[in-house]
């Protein structure tokens, strides 16, 4: 064990910093032009536009330490936004289970950020119990296409997505996990209706999606019919690691400290309030530990080639940390935290803080509720056969 960075790693750090510095957005520059150029330049660096993709598919093939350095540096730099569904969630499935034709067809537009994807997993009756899904896909008699009927729920960004990757039921005669088929199809077509779900913070990010006789060519099926659950399960573990969002939390914690310093308390500010300061400190300690849990998990993944169930710890701790940051932002707003509507009242961060807190309640529900995550750890890590349920 050794925390010291090798000279190669130090060189890498400098290179990353220099890249971020050189490609900062310039004043007056159009955001999307800059974004396109940024990814172009990152690609020229040798796959920096897709840091998490394996070298075989054009990724940089970094060591865990290099990934860590990259994450750390991104918290301090301005880099363009990215939507995770195609890049981080579908791409690994295509690489692992898609055929060559599918990889050639779908991976390049994901990499170029020209096609937006959404994830069709949860349904009204299939939340934590995802395998309970009922959206039906029936293969045509000639075996050339599926007809999809049913509803998906909590579909993030479905209203701006071009394509959906979708879990459908092709067989309900056996156990729930069998008979699930993984299909890809365009969102902008007849038979697909997207309805917004407005969440507590007033935001529209999730939707209900209804399918009526949507035709999907059989070549858009990933892998074999009825094996979709196996493919998705690997992805879920992947998703759960990504949801920890630690580098974002590091950034937000520092940001929160800055906000708290603008809240005057007598001759000083809120960051010197003993109660508040202690809560920030507790949060920071948890975040420091979780950062290293993530590193350990990355290291074991790169040694064993696969994420283990210990990735569940990351989602639990990471989402809890994100919620605590939001809660402390509300506390910093003090009397102004209720202010809502169009105007900015009191502190500039007050309204965003309250919206952030309300929306953050979702973090421990989606992508596998915390209770389900703990069941997974109880069963798979501690070997408790019945978990904590029943």
């Amino acid at each position: 064990m050794d925390i010291e960075l090798s000279s190669e790693d130090l060189t890498f750090t400098k290179e990353v910093r220099a890249f971020f510095e050189e490609n900062k957005i310039k004043e007056g520059e159009d955001y999307f032009t800059w974004r396109n150029n940024w990814f172009e330049k990152a690609k020229e660096k040798g796959g920096w536009d897709v840091p998490k993709w394996p070298a075989k598919f054009g990724g940089p093939g970094w060591t865990p330490t290099q990934h860590y350095i990259w994450e750390q540096e991104t918290t301090k730099a301005t880099i363009p936004f990215d939507i995770p569904f195609g890049l981080g969630m579908l791409a690994p499935i295509l690489m692992g289970y898609g055929n060559e034709e599918q990889q050639e067809r779908f991976l390049p537009p994901i990499r170029e950020r020209t096609v937006n994807w959404c994830q069709g997993y949860s349904e009204p009756g299939a939340g934590s119990d995802l395998a309970n899904l009922k959206t039906k896909a029936v293969l045509s008699e000639d075996g050339t296409y599926y007809t999809v009927n049913g509803s998906k729920m909590w579909t993030t960004l479905a209203h701006v997505a071009d394509w959906i990757f979708c879990l459908t039921r092709t067989d309900d005669s056996g156990i729930k996990q069998k008979g699930i088929t993984f299909l890809l199809f365009p969102m902008k077509q007849e038979g697909i209706e997207v309805k917004p779900i407005i969440t507590l913070g007033g935001a529209h990010t999730v939707n209900t999606v209804h399918f009526t006789d949507v035709k999907v060519p059989v070549e858009n099926r990933i892998g074999e019919e009825g094996k979709g659950w196996t493919y998705a399960k690997g992805l879920l573990e992947h998703e759960r690691t990504g949801l920890a969002g630690l580098s974002r939390s590091l950034f937000e914690l520092e940001n929160l400290k800055d906000l708290a310093r603008t809240v005057t308390r007598g001759n000083s500010n809120l960051m010197n309030d003993s109660g508040y300061k202690a809560k920030i400190a507790e949060l920071e300690i948890d975040l420091m530990a979780t950062e290293y849990t993530e590193l350990r998990s990355l290291a074991s993944a790169s040694a064993g080639g696969k994420l283990g169930p210990e990735s569940s710890i990351l989602k639990l701790k990471g989402t809890e940390i994100k919620q605590r940051i939001q809660k402390l932002t509300v506390e910093a707003s003090g009397i102004y935290s209720p202010a809502w509507g169009e105007k900015s009242v009191g502190f500039p961060f007050a309204k965003g803080g309250t919206a952030g807190y309300l929306n953050s309640r979702y973090f421990t529900i989606y992508g596998g509720a915390s209770e389900v995550q703990k069941d997974v750890i109880a069963k798979k890590v501690l070997g408790l056969t019945k978990g904590s349920s029943k």
Binding site: N132, Y276, E331, G341, I365, K390
Partner: protein, 375 residues
């Protein structure tokens, strides 16, 4: 010691409970909240007719001679429907200040209208820099002949938009955080130099930022004695904390009961969610927090009726517990409702938001914990 409500109080409790059941389903509340006034004028009139608005005032002022226990009975039921009408701002806070410090002539002028629902009050105490410290007051009142000239800014004022008069907390002498030198004024809402910036709050209510620019107020509009207003301010704040806590207890009851019901209906993994032990224990925790809050509410309220001064420490303890436990119950109600909990469709989220706001009013859990330790 006796925890039984009187027959009269039981009658009020039942009638408020019925009123909330009949008039405050979620959709009605949402449409009232986004309506012009932000509440129902008809409801307000009914509340006057039923005698609820006059309950805490003395009989000589047209009231029914009630105390904090009567207000608790009403507010707890209001909490079960997230009632929008300005009972807290107008009756408990504004009316409370007059009851405690108003001259006979001020009381004669204002209270009858308050009791019959034709007049409304508001109470402006907080300022941007004050955070939760009641004694931190910069807004100034300078004596000029028979008048005081008020200058400054008041923050997060409830019910200012529809109030006829605003009780304004201002500084007549002393330094920014001195308890001495604070004076309360009854200011006409249409006074020259008084402007309001109105906005909604996250719980569906309304608030205003108020700017006072050379607002002239006659010396006979002082509520209480000049420079000695802090005692009234603190006493109003204490009554408001008791009322808000009662509302919170009502809201927590709805949250834990709705959660118990929902988990019995919702099936996942081929079982009602209520059969999973981890969820059962969480609901037991929510129930326990609710009961503990109720106990602390009773304790603080009964102590306040007996000896307000001695009750101060308990009130700090109460508001700490309400803030902490209210969010615990709210967060877990949302968690156990899963995705549905974070939507605007179920009432769960609306109750949770109200509890979030209650924690921010008159001092959050942290503030009162620190106050508690100073005794």
């Amino acid at each position: 010691m006796n925890f039984e409500l009187s027959d009269e109080q039981k009658m009020i409790q039942q009638s408020v409970e019925r009123f909330v059941q009949d008039n405050y389903d979620l959709n009605t509340r949402i449409s009232l909240s986004s309506d012009n006034l932000g509440y129902s004028n008809d409801y307000w009139k009914s509340m006057a007719e039923l005698g609820w608005l006059g309950l805490p005032f003395d009989e000589s002022d047209g009231g029914f001679g009630g105390n904090q226990i009567d207000v608790l009975v009403i507010m707890e039921q209001f909490g079960k429907g997230l009632v929008l009408e300005p009972y807290l701002a107008s009756i408990v806070m504004g009316g409370g200040a007059l009851k405690k410090g108003g001259t006979e002539s001020l009381k004669k002028e204002i209270l009858p209208g308050l009791v019959d629902g034709t007049k409304q009050l508001s109470f402006a105490y907080a300022e941007q820099q004050s955070r939760f410290d009641l004694e931190d007051v910069i807004t100034s009142a300078r004596k000029e002949g028979d008048n005081f000239i008020l200058n400054g800014q008041k923050s997060m004022v409830q019910n200012a938009e529809t109030a006829d008069h605003i009780v304004v907390v201002a500084r007549t002498s002393g330094g920014q955080i001195d308890e001495n030198g604070i004076t309360l004024f009854l200011v006409d809402a249409s006074s020259e130099g008084l402007s309001m910036d109105n906005f909604p709050t996250v719980d569906g209510l309304r608030a205003s930022e108020i700017t006072l620019k050379n607002v002239s107020v006659n010396a006979d509009r002082v509520v209480g004695n000049v420079d000695e207003g802090f005692e009234i301010l603190q006493s109003v704040a204490n009554d408001a904390i008791l009322a808000l806590s009662a509302e919170a207890v009502g809201a927590m009851e709805v949250l834990y009961k709705d959660t118990v019901e929902y988990t019995q209906q919702r099936e996942q993994f081929d079982h009602p969610m209520s059969e999973f032990q981890v969820l059962q224990h969480r609901m037991v925790d929510m129930f326990m927090e609710y009961e503990q809050c109720k106990s602390m509410l009773y304790r603080a309220t009964m102590e306040s009726v007996q000896d307000p001064k001695a009750a101060q420490r308990t009130i700090h303890g109460l508001k700490h517990l309400i803030g902490k436990s209210g969010l615990f119950v709210g967060e877990n109600a949302v968690q156990l409702h899963g995705g549905m909990g974070v939507t605007e469709e179920l009432r769960i989220g609306h109750f949770f938001k109200r509890l979030l706001v209650i924690d921010s009013m008159f001092g959050n859990a942290d503030h009162h914990l620190q106050k508690f330790t100073t005794y």
